[in-house]
């Protein structure tokens, strides 16, 4: 049993500075074989830097990384046999086959030639040995996100690596795939692989990790076995002294706590809101803000089959479901990004032109897209310009917009969302992920929308910013009497909703009308398991 006492990976006194800012200050970390260490911290706490240093992409200013007690090899190829990183962004070459991606840069063959048959056979063998099953000859471009991730894991295993670094591996996976991934991680761990797991989702850490380490402002503030830790301890360590952990996060496993999120987020507005909704209800359903009738769409991956739904003024409706359930597609149709095959979208008493985002925007539909990198902002442009992008027509005089006017309009929104930037002219590309998302949200709020359509607005955002964003969405809707359509598979986010609609395979499966929503029932419903909409009475 001597093997287990030597850490598979060990970092000692790692320092790293970028210009004048410290990214890491004397971080010590060690991970034994067969263990899974959850590394958590807010955006900008230094997680990514530590990942880069461990995987050899960045050199440390000071300190040492050791694998199995030996100093880390300097060259990338040798380092790769000691530790393998599965990055947030896919490190798979889409044009190449699975086998080639598994042996990328180290193809088997005589000399420098590539022996395709042997490469495929070895890939198949490694896949079989670890219980994976993906065709070695398939081009990676045709694989699902889940399968690509497996290719990356197999790549590591094929190189003999017994230390895996998983950087937000669940960010792009649907729930079923997440469960399968967890099962795989457990299996790998049991067979002696050491795993460093990085995630924003604390419940994931609690589910599969054996210990946790918390980074804050470049320092390791907590490192302990998970057995003796509660979620609040981790949150407290993450956010430090300036925060009230008891208000920050609810334990999502239990219903009362989920209500706690709503309480924390909506603050004292919960009562007022209930009143507003009741009032809207009394006004009658003919005064609906949004009316969807028979939305039907047949597309590869998702289809919608006759979805009808109404949202009253001021009402917050959550839409949830598995990936492929049509949840995000429905939201995109409402936002006017996608045209349905059949069915209509009515805002007030006006029918929106299908698939016409510009007219939806003018009609008052604010939109927070799912993929903020692709649709959320223009990375080279400044914060203010991005925020005011949807309202230039209002700001412009004879087509010209003065930067001062732009910044004056954007400033209050930036303040409201506690957007941290070096100035309103700073390119959004330079901001952290959480702040980029705030820009996207600010853009949606800028036009005083009557309806906000948001798709997974808190993905990849740290706990504190998540709370803030949800609170802002909540406030924007209640203050302006706007409605909210929130499509998300992050169940915690649904706490701000008055009503939750669950989609299963393109149809409305059930509806939860009374907050707080029970997490277990929600999960069961998304899987299409319960036929009785339990507490939805």
């Amino acid at each position: 049993m001597t093997v287990t006492t030597v850490p598979a990976v060990e970092a000692a006194g790692i320092h790293k500075r970028f210009g004048s800012t410290y990214a890491l200050r004397g971080v010590d970390l060690s991970l034994l074989p067969g263990h899974c260490l959850g590394l958590v911290g807010r955006n900008g706490a230094g997680k990514s830097t530590l990942v880069s240093i461990l995987s050899g992409i960045l050199p440390a200013d000071a300190g040492q990384v050791r694998f199995d007690g030996e100093p880390a090899p300097a060259n990338t190829a040798a380092r790769r046999t000691r530790i393998a990183t599965v990055f947030q962004h896919s490190m798979v070459v889409p044009g190449l086959t699975v086998a080639e991606n598994v042996f990328l840069g180290s193809q088997p063959g005589p000399g420098a030639l590539v022996d395709w048959r042997r490469m495929r056979a070895r890939t198949t063998a490694v896949m079989a040995e670890w219980g994976f099953d993906i065709d070695a000859g398939a081009p990676c471009g045709s694989l699902t996100v889940e399968q690509r991730q497996i290719v990356e894991i197999v790549r590591a295993l094929a190189a003999g690596t017994r230390c895996l670094l998983l950087d937000e591996p669940t960010a792009a996976l649907e729930r079923g795939a997440v469960q399968r991934l967890f099962e795989r991680i457990r299996q790998l761990r049991e067979s002696g692989v050491a795993i460093l797991y990085i995630s924003h989702h604390l419940e994931e850490v609690f589910e599969i990790c054996t210990e946790a380490a918390v980074l804050r402002d470049g320092e390791l503030v907590l490192s302990a076995p998970l057995a003796g830790l509660a979620k609040d301890d981790l949150v407290a360590a993450m956010v430090g002294q300036t925060h009230h952990p008891e208000r920050a996060v609810a334990t999502p496993q239990r219903t009362p706590a989920a209500a706690g999120v709503a309480g924390a987020v909506a603050g004292d507005g919960a009562g007022a809101r209930a009143g507003a909704v009741a009032g809207a209800g009394a006004a009658g359903s003919h005064a609906a803000m949004l009316t969807l009738t028979g939305i039907t769409l047949d597309s590869p991956g998702t289809s919608l089959r006759g979805v009808s739904l109404t949202v009253r003024p001021g009402e917050r409706v959550g839409v949830t479901g598995l990936r492929g359930s049509g949840m995000t597609m429905l939201a995109r149709i409402v936002a006017g990004v996608v045209a349905p095959d059949a069915g209509s979208v009515r805002l007030g008493d006006r029918v929106l032109r299908p698939g016409d985002r510009a007219s939806a925007l003018r009609a008052g539909v604010g939109y927070i897209p799912e993929d903020r990198q692709a649709d959320g902002f223009v990375p080279q442009l400044g914060v203010a310009e991005n925020i005011t992008m949807a309202i230039v027509d209002r700001l412009a005089r004879f087509g010209f917009v003065s930067p001062r006017r732009r910044e004056a309009t954007a400033a209050p929104l930036a303040v409201r969302l506690s957007l941290v930037s070096a100035g309103l002219g700073q390119p959004v590309r330079e901001l952290s992920g959480g702040n980029q998302q705030k820009v996207t949200v600010a853009r949606a709020l800028a036009r005083d929308p009557r309806l906000i359509v948001a798709i997974t607005p808190t993905r990849g955002v740290d706990v504190a910013s998540k709370e803030l964003l949800l609170g802002e969405l909540d406030q924007a809707t209640s203050a302006a009497g706007a409605s909210l359509l929130l499509a998300t598979d992050e169940l915690d986010d649904l706490a701000i909703c008055d009503r939750v609609v669950v989609l299963v395979r393109g149809e409305i499966f059930t509806e939860f009308t009374k907050p707080p929503f029970d997490r277990e029932l929600l999960i069961a419903a998304t899987e299409g398991l319960t036929d009785s909409p339990g507490e939805a009475s």
């Binding site: 049993m1 093997v3 287990t4 074989p33 067969g34 995987s55 992409i57 060259n75 990338t76 190829a77 790769r80 990183t85 990055f87 962004h89 896919s90 490190m91 798979v92 070459v93 889409p94 044009g95 190449l96 080639e100 991606n101 990328l104 840069g105 180290s106 193809q107 063959g109 420098a112 030639l113 590539v114 395709w116 040995e129 670890w130 219980g131 994976f132 099953d133 993906i134 065709d135 000859g137 398939a138 081009p139 045709s142 694989l143 699902t144 399968q147 003999g160 017994r162 079923g176 469960q179 399968r180 967890f182 099962e183 795989r184 299996q187 790998l188 067979s191 002696g192 692989v193």
Partner: protein
């Protein structure tokens, strides 16, 4: 605990996935397996029907079209372009772009010829040995590629602008050293590649075919060849996999320019002199890009192969030949050329489906 690698045969996935997800999994797998083979075959053969149509149309239009002498002529004409297309395709595969191959195609043979031929034939009078001249020609190609590669990869300058500047610079030198004259009358050794025949087959055609074949095999079966695809397909992934990304990229720029110089030597041999407009003045870069892209080489990198590039070259060669045979009105030849290129692109996209989409 001594054997951490050892694992039972039980599948991680098998345990984790429910019945439904397992079925879904199998279905996607079956789908990709069948689709996979069909897809790559279609992609590589996308231009074949077009080539067949041109052959049929050509045979109907002109009785001289389907003759051996005509085809060896096409082969000789197209091989210079083909060799440059191989070079440019390599550069496109790594996600790069090189406009200056057209000037290298002109300058390298011009410099060599100028040093080889006597003053009376517009040379410098140095009377350089023709074999040394060919070595010099290759060195010029390598040097241009190295400068381009270092500026783009190490200096992180924009490839488009770097090679645009380089194009004009080289074309200016090409014109400047001979003051607008065209050196000719060189020893046979220098013109051999572009003008000699083995039997009825032009040497240039054989050499070009060998270059296509060797490059194709290299891309498929050599580690460096695969690294080229990895670099062009996902630079970060290639770097993380320990591929020496910068070296590969610079190397490809060098190889591309050397091939352009060889293409220039073929063209010089074919016409028995180096005209100051060879390359840049003729604007061959458009044909080079057209052949590569029609042949399915992606301008975004990481996608394409030599079968496609070769069929692109053959297509352009056949069309050019047909226009010549039919005495297409001179003033309209460019318009027809451009139309054919657009048509071929659209057709390749329609036949190749999503695989041919940019």
């Amino acid at each position: 605990m001594s054997e951490p690698q050892g694992r039972g045969a039980t599948g991680v996935l098998g345990r984790a996935g429910g019945e439904g997800s397992m079925q879904q999994w199998l279905r996607t797998r079956a789908g990709t397996r069948a689709g996979n083979a069909a897809l790559s075959w279609i992609r590589e053969a996308a231009l074949l029907p077009v080539l067949v149509v041109i052959l049929v149309v050509g045979a109907i239009l002109n009785s001289h079209f389907l003759t051996i002498s005509n085809f060896t002529g096409i082969g000789q004409q197209a091989s210079a372009l083909g060799v440059v297309v191989v070079g440019e395709s390599l550069i496109l595969l790594i996600g790069g772009m090189d406009l200056s191959v057209e000037s290298t195609y002109g300058l390298a043979p011009m410099l060599a010829a100028w040093l080889i031929v006597p003053v009376a034939a517009f040379g410098s009078g140095t009377m350089l040995n023709p074999y040394l001249g060919i070595l010099l020609l290759l060195a010029v190609g390598a040097a241009v590629g190295l400068v381009n590669g270092v500026l783009i990869v190490k200096g992180r300058l924009n490839g488009f602008i770097v090679t645009l500047g380089m194009t004009i610079l080289l074309a200016g030198i090409q014109n400047g050293i001979v003051k607008g004259q065209a050196p000719f009358n060189w020893p046979t050794a220098f013109g051999y590649l572009g003008s000699a025949n083995i039997g009825v087959v032009p040497v240039s055609l054989i050499v070009a075919a060998v270059i296509f074949l060797v490059t194709g095999l290299f891309l498929r079966y050599h580690r460096l060849g695969r690294a080229i695809y990895a670099v062009g397909g996902n630079l970060a992934a290639a770097r993380a996999a320990g591929i020496k990304v910068d070296r590969v990229r610079i190397g490809v720029y060098v190889a591309g320019s050397v091939l352009a110089a060889i293409g220039g030597l073929m063209e010089a041999g074919r016409v028995s002199s180096v005209v100051p407009t060879q390359g840049y003045g003729e604007g061959i870069i458009f044909s080079v890009f057209a052949a590569a892209v029609i042949g399915g080489v992606s301008l975004r990198g990481g996608r394409g192969n030599m079968v496609g590039a070769a069929s692109g070259v053959i297509l352009l060669g056949l069309v050019q030949n047909l226009l010549d045979l039919e005495n297409a009105p001179n003033y309209w030849i460019d318009a027809i050329d451009g139309g054919v290129i657009l048509f071929a692109l659209i057709l390749a996209r329609v036949i190749g489906g999503e695989a041919a989409a940019e």
